[in-house]
Structure formats: structure tokens, C-alpha cells
Amino acid sequence: MRMKFEGTVFVAPDNVDTDVIIPAKYLNRSDPEYLGAHCMEPLDEHFSSRIAKGDVIVAGRNFGCGSSREHAPVAIKAAGISCVVAESFARIFYRNAINIGLPLVELPGAAKAFAAGDRILVDLDAGAVRNLTRREEHRIQPYPAFLQSIIAAGGLVPFIRARRPAA
């Protein structure tokens, strides 16, 4: 997984649920392009066209609450988002994102530290998130060691593959 991301901030509120990230009416398909095109539709109809590749979602508390649909992080990734920064994440969403290689950053106070349109730099190796517009830097906690090994492997699938005896 790449460890450094620069882009424009898309601001999202508290408790963005998976029905908002990708409404269930689109779950009759699972191809990433289709899901990405409908990402965040209930919040912003033009989200997918508004997003430039590499942009970052900055959200409040409990981002990704609700269903276990992996279509949610898949849609976000396919829409071109490089990373999600939030005050906190719902647990299933957190696992799903790590597993498929969508980086997430927990940052207390994230919602106040960024406004829509700010430029952001997330540097996971340096343990920092920068608001390039406001010239502010925020320190972030490293992932637990176990998750780091999944991230370093490039997601859960390569992680499992590397540990399986050769067939």
C-alpha cells in the first residue's frame, strides 16, 4: 500500500452510514466502476464527478457505520478517493477498508481541522496529516503491529496467500 497521499478535502459529517456511501439499490452488482459512480449519492449527487483522483474524505465520528457491505470501501476507492481521515470509524468498515487496501486515518478533531476544498497531505510513514492550505500539521497514531503487517502485505488476500502452504 502507498503511504503518502495528497489531494483536495471532501468534508463529510458524523455517522456517515454505508447506505449513504453506497445505497442498497446498487448492491445488485459488485463491479468497482459501477459502485464508484454511485458513491455517496444521497449526500452529494455529483460526488463521483466532483472527486479528482487522490482526493481525501475528512469526516466526523463513526464513519462507515451500518452494514457490512464491502461495496462501501470498494465504491470509495473506485471513485478515486486515496484515503479517508475521520475522528473515528465503525469497526466493520475499518476492517473492510484495511483488507482491500483503502487507507484510513483516525484523527481526533478531524472535522474542525479541515474545510471543504483544503489541500491535505497524509503521510503514514511520517505519522502526520498536514493541512497544506492552513499550514497546520497533526500527529497520528501508527496502526497496531498486526494491522501493519496486513497493510504491508497489500491487504488481507496477499497476507493470507503468503501464509498458506504451497498447494
Partner: protein
């Protein structure tokens, strides 16, 4: 610290056993053996693709075909061509892999009611499901939690799952329930107190005399909504009610697991006391399950266009009986569509035999085959712009049941049934 003597919660005990440890503690990462892996028609296709990525393209291989359950319950009967294709893809996989617990056609029930009824889950089990309401089986004293498709594919491949041992929050429910108050009201009140992320990453342990006095349907409804306050799992220690239920399902478990419980001095992050006698029939206002208020405290009359009685929360036989009792001799308001979804074919059959279905039909309800359909705005009861529904389901997010400008109000089956009669949200007479 001597790990072997540390007092454990019931959840820690189950995880430790499945991880080959004598003892685990919150925050610890473990690989745990899985007793049953569940998925549905929405989550299986992505999992199948990831299993191929783990094994080899075109050659997926599951670890144990007898410990996998696949239920095509979300968009079935096939709602459109895309879901038909998706279901065909999962059907082919299930047949090729000879998945033992594959539920399709007339065997489809809503997964979280179906699996317990089929005797596939029991106390002390670790159940991992690619569906967030997998936490329902905590009502039987299992550790069960929802994951996504990639996690599920990893379980299919290896029979194990990575878990971070959750810290626990304990709720002690005591006192007598008032009339028309059920497990649903207790869990809505619980979520109201701690909020939709109040138990994020944690266990909620549901204990106390008022839990002992709850039927299995009431307990399932409570554990089902553990995810709605962010919990990894909700759990109720098995007791005589659990044992009696297990005898009806044929789930055989060693006697030792039937006495599984938390050690008296197990550690909790917080303990909440809930006086059940103070709880009135609840309704959770849009657009979060934490927005719960007593129906009688509603400030204005909230008219409804639809009432949905069913789902993995409240589609049990007892729920249909509760609705029928309210609807007997009454008629659904002409402006309301009242949809009833028995959760499984066996529940449907029993309700048919006992006259419950006839009562519901006489009152003007529409009876649907078991499906998750309307709960997630999939099919079979979608709301138009500006429409309102009262539902015994578990989520009232923006657009959950249809248009993003529609509204869902969550309640128990008695309130939903009586509201269907009145045409607005109302508490049934005691």
C-alpha cells in the same frame, strides 16, 4: 500478570477457546477458529472473487463445506436482471463447492432467523458472517460478529479469522416490563443511552432479571441490534430459556457450554443499570436508531404510508402473534400498506396453521415470502419521495427503505401494527 487466573467475560472465554489460549484480554489480536461462516446473495459474489484471489483463478477451494452457510435472502425472489445474474453466480459456486447449508428457493429464510432455527448455531460457537446483523446469535450465547466479503473469503479459505479482543460494556436490566414493551424497546432505549457509536469495537453484555424473563424472540431482537450502537457483538449467557429453544432446533452442544457465563469479577469498561419498568413503547425517529422516544411523548401526529412487520429483528413467530393480537378485529387504515414478512418458511407455515396469517390477512395486511427486501430498500416495499414508514426493522438511515427523502421510524411489532390501523404512529391500548 498471570493470564491463567484473570477473570474472563463470556466473550473472552469463547474467543480464548477458539484461539487456543487459556485466557485473552481486550486489545489482544488473535487468530480464532470459526465454527460457522455465513454469507448472503449481496456479500457472496465479492467473497467468491476474493477466494479465487487467495486460491487460484477459477479454482476456489473452501476449507470445510459443512461449516459454511449461504443464504440467498436479500434480493430474492430475484428482483431484477442484475440480481438474478448475481444469484446465479453464487448458486453455481455453492453447487460446485457442495456447500452443505445452502438456502435457495423455498428454503430461503432471513439468515439470522434461519440459522438458529436450523440448529446451525449454539452457545459457545464462533460465528463469522458477511452481514452486519450476524451479531444476532449472541442471544444464544455465541460469539458472532459481522465482517465484509474479504474477511469472509479468508475464513472460507482458512477456517480462521483475525480478531481484536473487544473490551466489554455490561447492561443490567431489572424490573417488570410494562404492557406492549418488548426486547425491541429495551434495545432501542439502550442505543438511545449510549448512542450509535457508544459501543464501537466493544462487546455489549446483556444481563439481569429482565433478560431472564425475555423470550428467545425478544433476546434475538436485542442481540440483533448490538451493531446499531457499534458493538462487535452482543451476548446473553445461556440459561433455561436458551436450553429449551435449543431442544426445538436440534442444535447439540456439550453441557459445559450451556453453563458458560462471565466470571463474577470479570472486567467491564462500564456497567449500566436499566430499570425496565420505566421504559414505555419506543419509536426511533429518522435518521438514526439512537433517536428513540416513547411513542406517547411524540409532540405531533406522524402519519404513515407503510408499516413493515418482519426482518431479522422482528420477523419471529412471536412477533407475528403480537401483531395479530393487535390487528384482530381491526382493519389497516385505507391509506396504509401493511407488509408482513415472516422470517422463515417454518415461521410462515406455523403462522398459517395457527390462524395468525388469516388474522393478518383479514385485517388487510400483505403477506410476503421471507426476504430482507424492504428493510434495506432492496425490493418489495420501497418508499417514494416524502413517504413515511413505521418498521420493526433495525435501521432508519437516510434512504434506507427507498427515496432519500423518505422516512423510517423503528418500533416493536405491537406499535407498528396499531399504527397501521390508526394511520399514524400510536401506542396500542394496554
Amino acid at each position: 500478570m498471570n493470564r491463567a487466573v484473570r477473570p474472563q467475560t463470556i466473550t473472552e472465554k469463547i474467543i480464548a477457546r477458539h484461539a487456543g489460549e487459556r485466557c485473552v484480554e481486550p486489545g489482544q489480536f488473535v487468530m480464532a477458529k470459526v465454527d460457522l461462516a455465513l454469507s448472503n446473495d449481496v456479500t457472496s459474489p465479492l467473497a467468491i472473487k476474493q477466494l479465487e484471489n487467495i486460491c487460484a483463478p477459477g479454482a476456489p477451494q473452501v476449507w470445510n463445506r459443512s461449516r459454511i452457510a449461504i443464504v440467498l435472502d436479500h434480493f430474492t425472489p430475484n428482483k431484477d436482471i442484475a440480481s438474478a445474474e448475481q444469484n446465479r453466480y453464487t448458486r453455481r459456486f455453492a453447487r460446485e463447492q457442495k456447500i452443505r447449508h445452502f438456502f435457495d428457493g423455498c428454503r430461503v429464510g432471513i439468515e439470522h432467523a434461519l440459522l438458529p432455527e436450523q440448529g446451525l448455531v449454539g452457545p459457545g460457537d464462533v460465528v463469522i458472517g458477511a452481514d452486519s446483523h450476524t451479531c444476532t446469535y449472541g442471544a444464544l450465547g455465541a460469539f458472532s460478529t459481522g465482517v465484509g466479503s474479504t474477511d469472509l473469503a479468508a475464513v472460507w479459505a482458512t477456517g480462521t479469522v483475525w480478531l481484536k479482543v473487544p473490551a466489554a460494556i455490561k447492561f443490567v436490566y431489572h424490573g417488570r416490563r410494562r404492557p406492549n414493551v418488548y426486547g425491541k424497546d429495551l434495545i432501542l432505549e439502550t442505543i438511545r443511552r449510549i448512542g450509535v457509536d457508544g459501543a464501537n469495537y466493544r462487546t455489549i453484555e446483556l444481563t439481569g432479571d429482565a433478560i431472564k424473563g425475555l423470550s428467545m424472540a425478544g433476546r434475538f431482537a436485542m442481540a440483533n441490534m448490538a451493531i446499531e450502537c457499534g458493538a462487535k457483538n452482543g451476548i446473553i449467557a445461556p440459561d433455561a430459556v436458551t436450553a429449551a429453544y435449543l431442544r426445538t432446533t436440534g442444535a447439540r452442544r456439550p453441557a459445559a457450554v450451556l453453563s458458560l457465563r462471565s466470571d463474577p469479577d470479570a472486567r467491564y469498561e462500564a456497567v449500566h443499570d436499566v430499570d425496565v419498568s420505566a421504559i414505555r413503547p419506543q419509536v426511533a425517529l429518522p435518521h438514526l436508531p439512537e433517536n428513540s422516544v416513547a411513542v406517547r411523548d411524540l409532540k405531533r401526529r406522524i402519519t404513515i404510508d407503510q408499516a413493515v412487520i418482519g426482518s431479522c429483528t422482528n420477523g419471529w413467530y412471536e412477533d407475528l402473534v403480537i401483531a395479530a393480537r393487535v390487528l384482530k378485529g381491526r382493519k389497516v387504515h385505507p391509506y396504509v400498506r401493511a407488509l408482513v414478512f415472516p422470517a422463515t418458511p417454518a415461521i410462515y407455515r406455523r403462522a398459517l396453521k395457527d390462524g395468525v396469517v388469516a388474522t393478518l390477512l383479514d385485517a388487510g395486511c400483505i403477506i410476503s415470502p421471507p426476504t430482507c427486501g424492504p428493510c434495506l430498500g432492496g425490493h418489495m416495499g420501497i418508499l417514494a419521495e416524502g413517504e413515511r414508514a413505521i418498521a420493526t426493522t433495525n435501521r432508519n438511515f437516510v434512504g434506507r427503505m427507498g427515496h432519500t427523502k423518505s422516512e423510517v421510524y423503528l418500533s416493536n411489532p405491537a406499535v407498528a401494527a396499531y399504527s397501521a390501523v390508526r394511520g399514524y404512529i400510536a401506542e396500542p391500548p394496554a
